[in-house]
Each structure stands twice: as structure tokens, then as C-alpha cells.
């Protein structure tokens, strides 16, 4: 499985690089205009590569399950954010190199009217890309509402890309060749098609496959479970631990969905799925007001966070509402009659806030499950674990073959950082622990 994942990662990485670099090297084919200086050609190559990377950003966020599965959605989104800085860097460095080497092409015209139109599109593209990066990096500080930001993000990205392509065509050096011009126009159409796929075709597909909320269950810890049944279709199969994008408050064409783990068993009948959502003070505060009977839209399943090898001990480490994917795993293994040993280390603030506490106690009688509760604010007389989950706690509760167990971690970012550090200290190989961060949007 791991070698298969590695092969898939290598193939998708190669395809990604091919889509950036093949259109660049295609410029070297056929009849070529006279070569310019090394610096000019290098800066032009950076400009072309930067633009191709910007266009491929639509592919990274298009939620292609086969692409994201080997990495995990969180890695892809983080890559999308960071690689945008690289793409912008390349695009901005491109004219800076030309200025630095005083390329003839950048000789200052005497009036603005003499500036070629290809250069105006370069200004437009670079301006759009700078605004795009600033608003993406400092959206919260600039107090831009998420939906407005998301819409502006797409508009700015399109402006940057169209500006870039028109700049290349307008400058008319390599792209005077009709075949090369056609290739880059096709590339642009391909990037736009990626955007249309996620913003038009996917919502159309979801519109034809709606879900109905059949039950709204109040859980411990200011948490609500939505039970959802497919309406007029069979639903989808998911692996325990995966998540879906939930769109409760509007049509699937609305730009904002929210990712939540499935908390139900993957073996549930009739395509039924459940999501368990804690009130964290943002849009999640409205979840408990959802009424049974409401129509909703679900896009999924996604994510690489799912149960491992059947003979390994599974150590499930949940912090707060990070219990939801673990619950899906435990419920699924119970339904399957799976007897692999499970240890759940479940951290929460108070005893009363531990969601699913009663059901977990019942499930202990049906699967090989041991539970270690860890409270940061324990009640009087509590003799269980307190504080934060750390290496010492693992040593107290786990069989000593630490490197042979599989670890699944879900919770707040600081908790996940601390646990990954603790597992590193215990010499647990990196391939033995699994995590996926849900704070990626």
C-alpha cells in the first residue's frame, strides 16, 4: 500500500512538473527567432514557468480525488498556498532580471502612449497577482469576509492569468509562431476548464444528488450530529476517517463549503452519513438550528486519513472534536466484526464535554477497545490522566513495541504538533503515524 502510494505520488508530481515545463520547452521547437542574451532567455523562461504554475493552481484546488488521495487534502492545500509564493516570485523576478541586465526590450518609452499593449497586460497581471497574495496572506488582518475573499481570489487569479497570456501574445517573440501560440491558448483553456470543473460541473452534479437531514442529534460538549440520507440516489461509499464538504446554507453553486469528518460507520445502510459538529463560535454555531427535513449538499468523500493494516494495533489519539473520524473508525470496525486491538486516547477539557462518551463505553464490549481519557480540567476525585497527551503517557498505556503500532492523530494544531514530536522522541517511524489537519481552509 505504501509503495503504491509512493508510486502515485511520484506519477502525479511528474505530471505536475510536465504541465509546467513541457509548454516552456515546446518553445524551443520549430523555427526560432534570433537568440537574445542568456539573462533575457532565463528571465523569459521564469515568466513562462511562473504563469504555468499559476494556471495549475486551479488544478490543485479542483478536489480531484485521485490526485489528492496519496497526499491528503491538507498537504495539497498547504502546497497550493506556498507554491503560489514561488509562482509569484518567478513572475516578479522575470521583469526585474530584464531591468537588471538593461534589456533593450525594457527601454523606457518617452510617453505612456508608446508603451506596447503587451506591457500593459504585464502590469495588469503582476498587479493582480500581488493583490491576490496580499489578500490571501492577510485576509483576517484585513477583515475581508471569507466569501468575498474567495470570490475576489478567483477573479484576481483569472485576471493574472489572462493578463499574463495576453502579455506573452502581445510581446510576440516566441508566440508569433501560430503553433506555439495555439499551445499556450490551449493551456489557458485547460486552466479555465479546471476552474469550471470545480465551480460549475461539480455543483451541477451535486444539485442532482441532494441529501436530506433526517435527524439532528444534540451531543455532549455543545456538539450536534446531522444525520443525512441521500435523496433519490444511492449516495457514496467512504472510508472511515475521510471527510466531505458540507453545504447547508444555500445552493451547491455557493462558493463556500465547509469540510467535516464523517462520524458514522462506513457500513451504514442506504448511503446514510453523519457529521458531528462542535459549536466553535463561527458558522458552526448555526448548526444546532438546522431542522430535520432540510435539503443539503455534500461533496465527498476526501482525505487519506483512514484505518491501516488489519494486524497492527491502532492507537487513536483524539483531541476535542477530533474524536469524529475516530468514532467513524470504531463504529465501522464494530460493524465489520473486526478484532484488531484499538487504544483510544481521548483528550478533552471536562468529563462532561466528552462527545460520544456513553456510546464509546458500550462499544468497548463489542470490539477490542481500550480507552484512556485525558482531561485538562478534571472533576474532583478524578484518578485518570490529566494535562496533555505526551510520550510519558504513551509509555504508561501502550505495549512497548511502540514502533509497530499505527498512530492516528486528530485534534487542534498545537496538540498534533506535540504528539508528532512525542512520537518522534519514541523513535516511531514517520510512516507509522497518520494525521490530517482540518484547519486548511
Amino acid at each position: 500500500m505504501q509503495s503504491q502510494d509512493l508510486a502515485r505520488k511520484a506519477i502525479w508530481s511528474a505530471i505536475y512538473l510536465l504541465f509546467i515545463l513541457a509548454p516552456l520547452f515546446a518553445l524551443l521547437t520549430g523555427t526560432l527567432p534570433p537568440a537574445r542574451s542568456f539573462g533575457t532567455e532565463f528571465s523569459v523562461a521564469l515568466g513562462y514557468s511562473g504563469l504555468a504554475m499559476m494556471g495549475l493552481q486551479f488544478g490543485l484546488t479542483a478536489r480531484f480525488r485521485h490526485v489528492t488521495e496519496p497526499w491528503g487534502e491538507d498537504v495539497i492545500y498547504h502546497f497550493h498556498r506556498r507554491v503560489s509564493l514561488l509562482a509569484v516570485g518567478l513572475v516578479v523576478v522575470h521583469p526585474l532580471i530584464l531591468f537588471a541586465i538593461r534589456s533593450d526590450k525594457l527601454a523606457m518609452p518617452e510617453s505612456l502612449l508608446e508603451v506596447p499593449w503587451g506591457a500593459w497586460f504585464a502590469f495588469l497581471s503582476i498587479g493582480a497577482v500581488i493583490v491576490l497574495v496580499v489578500t490571501a496572506l492577510w485576509r483576517q488582518q484585513l477583515k475581508i469576509p471569507y466569501e468575498l475573499w474567495h470570490l475576489s481570489h478567483i477573479v484576481l487569479a483569472l485576471t493574472a492569468i489572462f493578463g499574463g497570456v495576453l502579455h506573452m501574445i502581445g510581446w510576440g517573440f516566441y508566440l508569433t509562431d501560430p503553433f506555439k501560440r495555439a499551445l499556450w491558448i490551449c493551456m489557458t483553456i485547460f486552466w479555465i476548464a479546471l476552474l469550471l470543473y470545480v465551480r460549475l460541473f461539480k455543483p451541477l452534479f451535486m444539485l442532482r444528488r441532494p441529501y436530506r437531514v433526517t435527524e439532528v442529534r444534540v451531543e455532549r460538549g455543545d456538539t450536534t450530529t446531522l444525520v443525512m440520507d441521500p435523496e433519490g440516489h444511492a449516495g457514496f461509499r467512504f472510508k472511515p476517517g475521510q471527510f466531505g464538504w458540507l453545504n447547508v446554507w444555500g445552493s451547491p453553486f455557493r462558493i463556500t463549503g465547509h469540510p467535516f469528518s464523517f462520524s458514522s460507520s462506513a457500513e451504514a445502510a442506504n448511503g446514510r452519513v453523519e457529521m458531528t459538529i462542535r459549536n466553535l463560535g463561527d458558522f458552526t454555531s448555526k448548526v444546532k438550528a438546522i431542522a430535520a427535513g432540510q435539503r443539503i449538499y455534500l461533496d465527498g468523500p476526501y482525505g487519506a486519513f483512514t484505518i491501516g493494516h488489519p494486524t497492527d494495533m491502532h492507537v487513536l489519539i483524539a483531541g476535542g472534536i477530533g474524536i469524529t473520524p475516530m468514532m467513524s473508525m470504531i463504529r465501522t470496525l464494530t460493524d465489520r466484526g473486526d478484532k484488531r486491538p484499538l487504544v483510544l486516547m481521548y483528550g478533552g477539557k471536562t468529563w462532561d464535554s466528552l462527545t460520544f462518551r456513553e456510546e464509546l463505553e458500550t462499544l468497548k464490549t463489542r470490539v477490542d477497545l481500550r480507552i484512556v481519557y485525558v482531561l485538562s480540567d478534571p472533576p474532583e476525585g478524578w484518578n485518570g490522566e490529566t494535562g496533555r497527551i505526551d510520550a510519558a503517557m504513551f509509555r504508561r498505556h501502550l505495549p512497548p513495541e511502540y514502533a509497530d503500532h499505527e498512530y492516528f492523530i486528530c485534534g487542534p494544531d498545537p496538540m498534533m504538533d506535540a504528539i508528532e514530536t512525542a512520537l518522534g522522541e519514541m523513535k516511531v517511524p514517520r510512516v507509522r503515524y497518520h494525521s490530517e489537519r482540518y484547519s486548511f481552509v
Binding site: 512538473l17 516552456l24 537574445r36 532565463f42 504554475m53 497526499w71 491538507d74 498547504h78 490530517e436
Partner: protein, 33 residues
């Protein structure tokens, strides 16, 4: 840890793209007049 993986992939992409852009310029100036 997972962000570190993504960051490493970005650095690797950057190195490959810059290296191949240099190769592009070298091919263009050196042999493909």
C-alpha cells in the same frame, strides 16, 4: 510535520523549475540560435 512535507515539495519544485529555466536559456543561447 505535514506542512513540512508540503514545504519541502515547494522547495523541490522551485529548484527543478529554476534549474530547467537555466537549461532552457543555455540551450537557447548555446545551441539553438
Amino acid at each position: 510535520m505535514r506542512r513540512l512535507l508540503a514545504n519541502r515539495l515547494v522547495v523541490l519544485t522551485g529548484v527543478i523549475v529554476v534549474a530547467l529555466s537555466l537549461l532552457f536559456a543555455w540551450l537557447r543561447v548555446g545551441s539553438l540560435h
